[in-house]
């Protein structure tokens, strides 16, 4: 029997993996992917609550609506981020965030 | 009865006839014109069959070609062909020129010694000379000074010798 806790643990683990990726990797693209992972961790949590907890009434569909918004924002964010990365690559021929220090002095 | 041995037949050196010159009026007019235009240079204007032949010194080739192309009365905009002929001691570089407007034609000839065949490149005059010169370098070893890219064109990298020359063996090759 699937319990809410199962989903929460999976969500937490995925979120943690994402955080590790953001902190530890150097490639901008990989960091972007890690952010996607974190967003999906949130989605798992949302669907869990939406399904297991009875909100009743008009809020029944709220969880799923939120997920749709999250996915939308994720897509938009990714499009922009990839564009920025491509631009960076064109200017610096690298996607390593360590080397992107133009604003640092 | 003994017949006297027939005297060995005298081998005659075959008589080699020369091809007759048959210049049309356009050709005669052109040869006069060339003499006039190129009088600063040491040129020799003759004819072969129906074509005007202009013999020039190798070092003048580039300058003369430039004039031949740009001079409005000569107007040799079109380099038909660039060929090299091996006369054992010398290599002769031929530039076959044609004017689309005036419809007259001429051959420019420059003889270079086989040991050190150097001719200035005319690639700056006609861009179409590019591959012809590379081919001449490939098959005959003529060095076209000033050509930007005299790399093998027809032959593979590492081919030794100049197969177009008469000194190159004719058919003593391995099957592979």
């Amino acid at each position: 029997m699937i319990e809410l806790a199962h989903l929460q643990v999976v969500s937490a683990a995925l979120f943690t993996i994402g955080i590790y990726g953001v902190l530890a990797r150097r490639s901008a693209v990989l960091i972007l992917m890690s952010i996607e992972l974190m967003l999906n961790a949130v989605n798992i949590n949302l669907i869990g609550f939406a399904t297991f907890v009875d909100f009743g009434g008009a809020e029944r569909a709220l969880g799923q609506v939120l997920i749709i918004f999250v996915i939308t924002i994720a897509a938009a964010e990714l499009a922009l981020a990839i564009a920025i990365i491509l631009r960076l690559y064109r200017n610096r021929s690298s996607v390593n965030i360590d080397e992107i220090d133009l604003m640092k002095w | 009865m003994e017949q006297p041995p027939r005297p060995p037949r005298q081998r005659r050196e075959p008589e080699v006839p020369e091809a007759p010159v048959a210049l049309d009026e356009r050709g005669t007019a052109l040869s006069a014109l060339i003499r006039d235009v190129l009088k600063e240079f040491e040129v020799e204007v003759g004819a072969a069959v129906d074509e005007v032949v202009v013999t020039v010194k190798p070092e003048d080739v580039s300058a003369i070609c430039r004039i031949a192309k740009d001079d409005p009365s000569l107007d040799f905009k079109y380099l038909r062909c660039l060929s090299v002929v091996d006369y054992i001691e010398t290599l002769e570089v031929n530039y076959h020129l044609f004017s689309l407007d005036k419809r007259h034609k001429a051959v420019l000839k420059a003889s270079v010694p086989t040991e050190e065949p150097h001719v200035p490149s005319v690639i700056s005059v006609w861009r179409g000379a590019d591959w012809f010169e590379r081919e001449g370098h490939d098959l005959f070893g003529v060095v076209f000074d000033g050509h930007p890219n005299l790399t093998p064109l027809l032959l593979y990298e590492g081919f030794e010798g100049f197969p177009g020359r008469k000194s190159f063996p004719f058919h003593e090759y391995d099957e592979w």
């Binding site: - | 032959l155 593979y156 197969p163 190159f168 063996p169 004719f170 058919h171 090759y173 099957e175 592979w176």
Partner: protein
């Protein structure tokens, strides 16, 4: 003289041969040979004059598609390489490479006299005198260039060879 060593036109040992008794594998390999001979995909690869006749053979009038023969641009999907034309030393390595890129079982047809032995260019300095110096050839089609009918006959000979090979292999594997 380094002929590429490979399995060439013997197919790789199939799983059937390992598992099934010999009598069955012999029969199955004959069946497979029928399949192979009915779908000979050629590498669309023309070298010289013969390529034009090879194309003719594929076109409406002669239509090699009737035999299931179609051309394929990539060597990875081809079964038969028709060497149509003169093989030049500069082209030798690419041809070997192409042959090696083809998957087993594969066959080679040498089309025309140039691919067979150099043909009219036998004494030239840059021609490989027969493609069999480079890769193993199964069928030689003579002619300069061979008529389309000749090429078709060559392909039918190749089909017979495939069948015969399979039968012989079956016989030897039964005997052993």
């Amino acid at each position: 003289m380094d002929i590429t060593q490979g399995r060439g036109n013997t197919p790789a040992e199939s799983i059937f041969e390992r598992v099934l008794p010999n009598a069955v594998t012999a029969k199955s390999s004959e069946l497979f040979a029928h399949a192979r001979k009915s779908s000979l995909w050629t590498l669309s690869f023309g070298l010289a004059c013969c390529a034009i006749e090879m194309m003719s053979t594929h076109m409406s009038h002669h239509d090699l598609d009737r035999f299931g023969v179609v051309t394929w641009p990539s060597p990875r999907q081809a079964d038969v390489m028709i060497v149509a034309g003169t093989v030049v030393k500069k082209m030798a390595d690419p041809i070997k490479l192409l042959y090696e890129q083809m998957p087993d079982p594969k066959w080679v047809i040498a089309m025309g006299s140039c691919a067979t032995n150099g043909g009219p260019y036998y004494r030239s300095y840059s021609v490989v005198m027969g493609v069999d110096h480079l890769i193993p050839v199964d069928v030689y089609v003579p002619g300069c260039p061979p008529r389309p009918e000749a090429l078709m006959y060559g392909i039918m000979q190749l089909q017979e060879k495939i069948l015969k090979d399979a039968k012989e292999r079956g016989a030897t594997s039964q005997a052993s």
